[in-house]
Symmetry: D2
Subunit: 244 residues, 4 copies
């Protein structure tokens, strides 16, 4: 199986942009497209879908908690059944925008605080699993967390991802830093590819964390993100495009 590169895309809003999506899209395998709850709006979603379809990039839904001002990074207490409705809404909305381009959703990947909560809270992970089953989609998530465990137990296809631009805690969870330092593209690419080859990566305390990943995630708004994607693309070889 080919190792893939995934990237969160279309995360602007109205007049705002935070990443150079036009430069990134031709270089990635999987675009996780924001659905309007933490970022994006129908116009940006349309443009991002068009760009992905044009380059044969697989399109995933990237739903979030409803928090545009906080970019979906603030935890909120929402009953599971309401959260299920919110995520169905977002995935459906993106699916609706794919129809004119003749392409289908390829996967689901929760965003920000929702992603983090799904790693630690089985009820939240179960909601993601429930949505994935309704839409019959695999989920990109963090290996060795309640995401993997819950999805697999629910019979949902799990695709582990490795975060090329983030540090890991000894328990395998991410160590989020507020103002990430610029990334050295070559060393970050080496670290990511080693993680996938060996199935382990060094945590912040030097201990080895198991990594069961088939896709490498790069954050496009990190300083140096584009260079890292270019480096990974070269090392991983040409893209395997989806047929539209």
């Amino acid at each position: 199986m080919r190792v893939k590169i995934n990237c969160d895309m279309g995360e602007g809003f109205g007049k705002y942009r935070i990443a150079d999506d036009a430069s990134i899209m031709p270089l990635i395998d999987q675009a996780n497209i924001a659905c309007g709850f933490h970022a994006s709006d129908p116009v940006i979603m349309r443009d991002t879908v068009a760009m992905a379809a044009d380059h044969g990039v697989a399109i995933g839904a990237h739903p979030s908690l409803p928090d545009l001002q906080g970019f979906g990074r603030r935890e909120m207490k929402i009953p599971a059944s309401d959260l299920f409705a919110m995520i169905c809404y977002q995935v459906g909305a993106l699916a609706g925008m794919l129809i004119p381009y003749g392409v289908s959703l390829s996967h689901l990947k929760p965003h920000g605080a929702l992603y983090g909560m799904a790693c630690r809270d089985a009820d939240v992970a179960q909601v993601i699993a429930d949505v994935a089953k309704q839409f019959d989609l695999p989920v990109l998530g963090l290996p060795n967390t309640l995401q993997e465990k819950t999805y697999v137990e629910a019979g949902v296809s799990f695709v582990g991802e490795f975060f090329a631009d983030l540090e890991y805690q000894p328990n395998g969870h991410l160590a989020i830093v507020k103002n990430p330092a610029s990334i050295n593209a070559k060393s970050a690419a080496t670290r990511a590819i080693n993680a996938i080859k060996t199935g382990t990566t060094p945590a912040i305390d030097g201990s080895l964390v198991p990594v069961n990943a088939q896709s490498i995630c790069v954050h496009s708004d990190n300083p140096g993100g584009l260079d890292l994607i270019k480096e990974l693309r070269v090392r991983l070889g040409a893209i395997e495009r989806v047929s539209s």
Copy 2:
């Protein structure tokens, strides 16, 4: 062909409600469900879809201009391609929320200012037609306006509706009144059924307006709306339920 009753449903938001949807749902044939742009949110949409599915009521998408504060009743200038994206987003979102209930969308009906603009502006009507073709849905609209003309020319199935609780201008367009008087259920029902049987209805100046309608729309938030629906239900006979 059976004459149907359609009603805009799920038009609350958060804690707010404007109509007694639970009493209305068992009495109507077609529920036009708000999609979050003029009213509703994922939680209300879920509850409204569940109720419609439960009663075998056909579910239509009721998209709007993006204007929650103005209830979608303020005209906005939006480029056609952006409007197309906004409506695809809404229809897709509602379609996504139907999946868990095993039902499919049955039709499309634009809301408020969008509905009025589609009567008078061929470009707006064309956007509605384009969305309807993508989702392969018929459109409920106002006969003898640019809605009917544009949809039919675009090859979209058009279902004319008669507004049982609104007055008509001599040109066949609606005469919207800000604070509608309470409706007399019996006379309004008689007027609606006559309009559909004879194919004409008296306008506000007494002249006869042609009406090519297969469905009767009642606004649930009008005073007396529920009584009118009950009266129409009795006169039109039992509901023909969709099979789920």
Copy 3:
């Protein structure tokens, strides 16, 4: 000192309304007016301010967490300095809308989850105190909680309130019920006036809770709220109007 009646007012949004403000306004002493974050919008705020000014009712700012969909009742984790900015924004906005009516703000009362958090979390109460000092306003709050303690220690004038339509826990905090039963106006009024006269009220377990209150709060959207306000008005005597 006269016992006052306070009520949360202007809590509609756009086309939505949840209470009969026009009937309530002439009967109360203090109107806590929503500022657009959990409910209301500039048009409703203007109308509510005009009504309060017309009846000589004291106007308080009723700021909230930013959560229109959740009516400000969902807890959110927000850094204290950001919360301070959000509340200054809301209080300033309402103050700006008073200028055309020649009246000034009389007090501050946090809403919903923000109110509850300020009872239990000294950091949140301190933010409220900081805003109150900037605007030089007393704060309406719950006696015997971190609200009273924090405000008083910060040198902010504290006005205790008794909730005529809510139950109390033995520790003096409120026992919020999701779907409150309809209130018996006479017995609820008696309970409220006794609480203020005796300085204690029975909690849900029968134990006596100390109550240091100068104002009685009634929720206008509770079933029976208007009747309770009428009963209290009769028992407490005529209103002491603010001079505008």
Copy 4:
């Protein structure tokens, strides 16, 4: 009277930013701060106010139509009395955020579509004038349009501004271009200073348009905006700071 430089500031939202406010603030005389309707949020407003206060820059309110997704650049039909309420809300909100910094509002400048509408529509200009009178503030606006005429007739102090980075129509109105070319700082500065010195500027057809301006506006998000501000600062001499 000294010629001043004004700039729209704090026009990010949540995580988004569109200009380098930290570099611009020390160089300008007047900061028109967004109030949350077309851009900004309480956190960004606080940070922008703090920066302006720190540099002794005069703070103006920069209110807009309610249109975050369209950056306040889409015209909306809103009744005058509602528009008045919306602008009072925004100006009051910003005023509330100034209190902790011990500074006061110095002026008012409408944003985007609201600014353009006030140039052409006397009713809209009158609403701006009405708000300015309530808050006792001068208004920055476009000379030789209904803005100047209406404000002056209403007894509101009018401060004309010249747009250093925009073209003029022969009638004195602005010629808005969607994707503005990068500006040559030296020639744009020369053109602006000539306009103010001579009281005229060449329109796009070469004809001379009268300009009665005391302040030069530069858009910080235009390519080359910062360089133009630097050039103007050098030519106009040191800043005259407001005393806080």
